[in-house]
Symmetry: C2
Subunit: 174 residues, 2 copies
């Protein structure tokens, strides 16, 4: 099967969209790569050309979703607005994030991808809002915030406005 690049990209997009839809409809655990390929009108082999398995595919399908919205102004975002955005995205995607982090405990490749595509970029975004802090303090704050968020996620507790206020109170004290 020889397909041109634009066609490839179209199929890849269709698979990502199908993965996102199916996970939102049925929940991570109930979705198979065969379901996703079928919904996207693609072959399972095509899917496996780009992703080694369900975890990596779903991670790609959702990592754009939890990314920061593109900035409309050139002003540097504040820590609080970044944290609000961060928690909004993480709340909406919470069941998927919990499932991916869970599966990553048994799958080293997925674990690496999760750190590279989600954990590290979100940490970098927080770090960028802390340029007025000393570098060592910056790491400390990023670790604390990221620990609080992941703990909440895994304990299935809300990442709501009250949590954001709590987290910002912690940061003020550090």
């Amino acid at each position: 099967m020889r397909v041109g690049r634009p066609r490839d990209e179209k199929v890849r997009r269709a698979i990502l969209t199908a993965a996102q839809e199916l996970v939102l409809e049925k929940g991570y655990a109930a979705v198979t790569t065969a379901d996703v390929a079928k919904r996207a009108g693609a072959g399972k082999q095509t899917l496996y050309r780009w992703w080694p398995g369900k975890g990596a595919l779903v991670l790609d399908a959702f990592s754009e979703w939890v990314q920061q919205a593109p900035r409309l102004s050139r002003r540097k975002p504040s820590l609080s607005s970044t944290l609000v955005e961060f928690c909004r995205g993480a709340s909406e995607a919470a069941p998927v994030l919990r499932a991916l982090m869970a599966e990553a405990q048994f799958d080293e490749d997925l674990h690496r991808r999760l750190v590279a595509q989600l954990v590290r970029p979100r940490g970098d975004e927080l770090r960028a809002c802390l340029e007025d802090r000393r570098p060592s303090d910056r790491e400390l704050v990023v670790n604390v915030l990221s620990g609080l968020v992941w703990q909440r996620l895994m304990l299935n507790e809300p990442l709501d406005a009250q949590f954001v206020r709590f987290a910002l109170r912690v940061v003020e004290r550090i």
Copy 2:
């Protein structure tokens, strides 16, 4: 099958020991309740009289393990010694804790048990070392510490002496 209480307790102990041994030998994912029953010389139905499944059984088998060692003196333990103990236990049991937290994401009953048997008691032990702090600060410190530890566990990063120093530095600043 009518068995007296002491015999019951002996079988229950044998199952817990078998679960602990097998998980340490083969890893959580590879162990089945049938393996555990066989090693303990018990029937699978006997096992299911006490535990609804592998997760709850393994949690029981390891929650004693990560408990604080019984105190030999009446002196209240310091936050740093409690945290050192806490990290030592969590490090040794790390693969099991990661597997249980992962499975709990798909199993609400196990999630409740994990919070009740592990997350909350460890939080209470930390809280007990913070009696000189204001109550609101105490909650803040417990949340931060527990967040840092669970994040490290799930990201598979070491809970070593360097981490303990880092965590204590965070607490001093709060």
